[in-house]
């Protein structure tokens, strides 16, 4: 990849780059931030991880930031509409659903259609949150009517219930199942490609545009291995 | 000088009083349980908000002022020592509140604690004191507040035979050139010892008032006579005594009363001698009457006999020494003859009230 900051240039003044990033990016972005710092002497990267909607809310209320990475297009659009985004957001990663099941897949769930088995306790995300919306999309497409015992607020809650054994299966993102590998198993299903979730990134208005661009470029180019490790797909 | 006019309704109870106390003088407020004594004191301090009141202390109008600005000290029926402060700090509280230094306040506190003989208790918490000790500390605390007006609500109730006279003596010394004072008491003789004037409350109203000795010697209502512990028989005045409603004649000393007027015969229980019923009485006493002992109550160092009987004997009281009671073998139901010397009976005009 191309490194915009010319190596070997005299040590620039100390700068802090503030990145508002979706909570699901915590692990990969923390690592990428370290790499970015290493490549750019004098730059410190600070993250504010929270739900994408909360981050947009903070930005529209005047929070100071340089970069915003959202876990879905809808919240990024809100940011654009709210006039806090500088330039055009770019999708840097994608995510798709998978079925999280107990270790060893004791109930032998093989695909999405198995989720309608009677007596099976399935948890999904609420339709209002991206993973829930994606699950609805899959349901519509496959005409499989899943009757969940709970519609969770976020993926972590779904995962927690599968992990504790109280749910037999849960619909989560690949990245989440990857992070919890060793505690849950995942059952990928082909229909998930019909509901791909995009992660857009953009610079924030009023932030340090140069530094933000440098970071965004770094994510788009040098960020791939780290993102792939976390389970993200390429845009 | 204190001038107070107070009107107040408290539930079904109404208070309506006005009185004055001259500078440096002591007014005793007497009256039965529930007559409104504590209520009047609360109004003076500002702890109760009377419906309408005009209270002036040395010319200052107090009615609107908050309690702390009135410079009125109250020793209430319940000592209410601050439970979180030591005895010393309780007494030093008021000097400290006035802005004295810690040392000065403690000096003042030590002085008053010594006066009430409680200096040895200075480091205790109130919960470690006996009832009487608490009361003594409360006295010291209120005196240390150096009020312009001192209100004392039964200060002697919990004190023992040594402490009560000591505190009484202390108060007399303090009050001699001290603050104007209102003293609530159930004991007419506290009033006699400490107060120049008395006001007798009943049902929220002052039913009698005047110079202490005059009021106690010449009560004008049955109620006041009972408060003062005196016997009182009503009837019509004659030249040398009183004709009772039952037609009997009581010999006595008429005082400012003319024959034919409605009047009362007043005599002290201590003036009533008691003999076994079967004795005859050749002696000097003019008035003798048969009666039956109804009750014997200790009353200070004497036993007070209450009797029932025909005519004016009903309800009379007689004070006897315990020894006399023992000698005569008196108990409820004993038949007795009472004898009262005429010189001890005074005849007063009946009060209008």
């Amino acid at each position: 990849g191309s490194d915009p900051a010319p190596a070997g240039s005299p040590a620039p003044e100390a700068k802090t780059l503030t990145v508002f990033a979706a909570a699901s990016l915590t692990e990969s972005f923390t690592a990428l931030g370290k790499q970015f710092e290493a490549a750019h002497a004098g730059v410190t990267v600070k993250f504010n991880f929270a739900g994408s909607s909360a981050l947009v809310q903070q930005l529209t209320q005047g929070a100071k930031a340089d970069v915003f990475a959202s876990a879905d297009q809808a919240n990024m659009d809100k940011g654009v509409k709210g006039g806090v985004i500088d330039g055009q957001p770019v999708v840097f990663a994608t995510n798709k659903l998978t079925i999280a099941v107990g270790k060893g897949n004791p109930l032998k769930i093989a695909g999405f259609a198995d989720l309608t088995k009677s007596g099976l306790k399935v948890v999904v995300c609420a339709p209002q949150v991206p993973c829930g919306a994606a699950e609805q999309k899959v349901e519509t497409a496959t005409k499989v009517d899943v009757k969940p015992v709970s519609e969770e607020q976020d993926v972590k809650a779904v995962l927690a219930k599968v992990q504790s054994g109280d749910a037999d299966a849960g619909l989560v993102y690949v990245t989440d199942a990857t992070a919890a590998a060793g505690k849950v198993d995942k059952v990928d299903f082909p229909e998930s490609s019909g509901a791909i979730n995009n992660y857009p990134i953009a610079a924030v208005k009023g932030g340090q545009a140069d530094l933000a661009k440098a970071f965004n470029d770094y994510i788009l180019s040098g960020g791939r291995p780290e993102l792939t490790k976390a389970g993200f797909g390429a845009p | 000088m204190l001038r107070a006019e107070i009107e107040l309704v408290r539930g079904t109870f109404e208070v309506s009083v006005d009185f004055e106390v001259a500078d440096g003088h002591v007014l005793a407020l007497l009256g039965p349980n529930g007559s409104g004594k504590s209520t009047v004191l609360s109004c003076l301090t500002g702890l109760l908000d009377p419906g309408s009141a005009d209270i002036r202390l040395n010319g200052r109008a107090l009615a609107g002022l908050p309690p702390h600005a009135r410079r009125i000290g109250l020793l209430a029926q319940d000592p209410l020592l601050f439970p979180h402060l030591s005895v010393m700090d309780n007494v030093a509280f008021s000097p400290r509140s006035r802005g004295e230094s810690r040392d000065k306040a403690r000096t003042v506190a030590r002085h008053w604690l010594a006066e009430v003989d409680a200096l040895a208790l200075a480091d205790r918490k109130p919960s470690q004191l006996s009832g009487g000790q608490q009361q003594r500390v409360a006295v010291a605390r209120v005196l240390a507040s150096e009020p312009d007006l001192l209100l004392l609500d039964e200060p002697f109730a919990a004190l023992d035979v040594d402490a009560a006279p000591a505190i009484r003596g202390l108060l007399r010394r303090v009050l001699r050139d001290g603050p104007t004072t209102v003293l609530v008491t159930h004991d007419p003789l506290d009033a006699l010892a400490l107060a120049d004037h008395v006001a007798v409350l009943d049902g929220g109203r002052i039913v009698e008032r005047g110079v202490t000795r005059e009021v106690l010697a010449a009560p004008r209502t049955g109620f006041t006579a009972r408060i003062a512990g005196l016997n009182l028989v009503s009837g019509t005045a004659t030249a040398d005594g009183l004709r009772t409603e039952s037609g009997h004649l009581i010999a006595g000393m008429p005082a400012e009363v003319s024959a034919g007027e409605p009047a009362v015969a007043v005599f002290a229980p201590s003036a009533v001698a008691v003999y076994p019923h079967d004795d005859d009485h050749p002696g000097s006493p003019r008035n003798t009457v048969h009666a039956v002992v109804a009750a014997l109550e200790p009353h200070g160092p004497v036993i007070r006999l209450r009797v029932t009987g025909e005519g004016w004997a009903r309800g009379l009281t007689a004070d006897l020494t315990p020894a006399a009671v023992a000698d005569l073998d008196l108990e409820p139901g004993s038949a007795v003859t009472l004898s009262i010397k005429a010189t001890t009976v005074s005849i007063h005009p009946a009060a209008g009230t």
């Binding site: 600070k46 209320q61 100071k64 972590k156 919890a180 | 309690p67 702390h68 509140s97 006035r98 507040s145």
Partner: protein, 250 residues
């Protein structure tokens, strides 16, 4: 018996947590710079907001309990609002007020002061959610105790402030102890309002609960272990701080 059930309700889940969590990882979690930062920040901000709660809340409780004003009931209900407000909504409310576009924040912004996303914002958020706890527990105690001693003090010539300082407060100490514990605990555990109003920036606004949340994104178990750290801190603070308040009141 019911006391036992009540105790079981509290103790058993926590015991379950202990059993299930990997205690051996606690030390290694503890020494990561980010948890240490979060721990320090949490203690500082929760401490500060508890102080603010006491300074502002005690007088408010006294006013609520003692004043005879007519509207006092409405006032009391208002004070209780943050109790029922979902914390995130509380955070939003603060953002609407003190954010750059908020009606107070705008004024502050002109004066060069920006509150959100600072440590001060954390303290404000915590104070906002924690103060009602202090106020309510004090008010109950004030009503229970009555004002007999305060009245005596006023007849002894103590001005209202002196009465407050030397009688009301000392007599209130046991209840103040509970109140402080409650509000400190609430501040320490505060998450929703903080992340909304103050964000989650390491060493500035990322308190321990936010760190726990962050960790949960990575690994639920380590988040639980961190939460246990939070518990330990709270219990230590309570055990050290509380008996003193109680003892002082004799």
């Amino acid at each position: 018996m019911p006391a036992g059930v009540a105790l079981a309700l509290v103790v058993l889940p926590v015991a379950g947590l202990l059993v299930r969590s990997d205690l051996s990882r606690l030390p290694s979690l503890l020494v990561t710079p980010s948890s240490l930062h979060a721990l320090r920040l949490s203690l500082v901000t929760a401490g500060l907001s508890t102080v603010v709660c006491v300074v502002l809340g005690v007088p408010l409780a006294v006013v609520l309990a003692r004043s005879g004003i007519k509207g006092i009931r409405v006032l009391r209900a208002i004070v209780l609002l943050p109790l029922v407000l979902p914390p995130v909504v509380g955070g939003l409310a603060l953002l609407y007020l003190l954010g750059r576009k908020g009606f107070l924040g705008y004024v502050l912004d002109l004066a060069g002061i920006q509150v959100p996303f600072t440590t001060a914002a954390v303290v404000i958020a915590q104070t906002f959610v924690a103060m009602p706890f202090l106020v309510v527990s004090l008010e109950g105690a004030l009503r229970n105790g009555g004002d007999r001693y305060e009245r005596v003090a006023s007849t002894l010539g103590a001005k209202p402030w002196t009465v407050f300082r030397r009688v009301t407060i000392p007599l209130l100490l046991p209840a103040l102890g509970s109140g402080v514990v409650l509000s400190f605990a609430r501040a320490l555990g505060e998450f929703g309002a903080t992340i909304t109003f103050a964000g989650s920036l390491e060493d500035v606004t990322r308190t321990l609960p936010l760190e726990v949340y962050q960790q949960a994104e990575v690994d639920v178990d380590s988040a639980v272990a961190l939460a246990l750290l939070l518990i330990v801190v709270a219990v230590v603070v309570i055990a050290v701080a509380r008996p003193k308040a109680l003892d002082a009141a004799g």
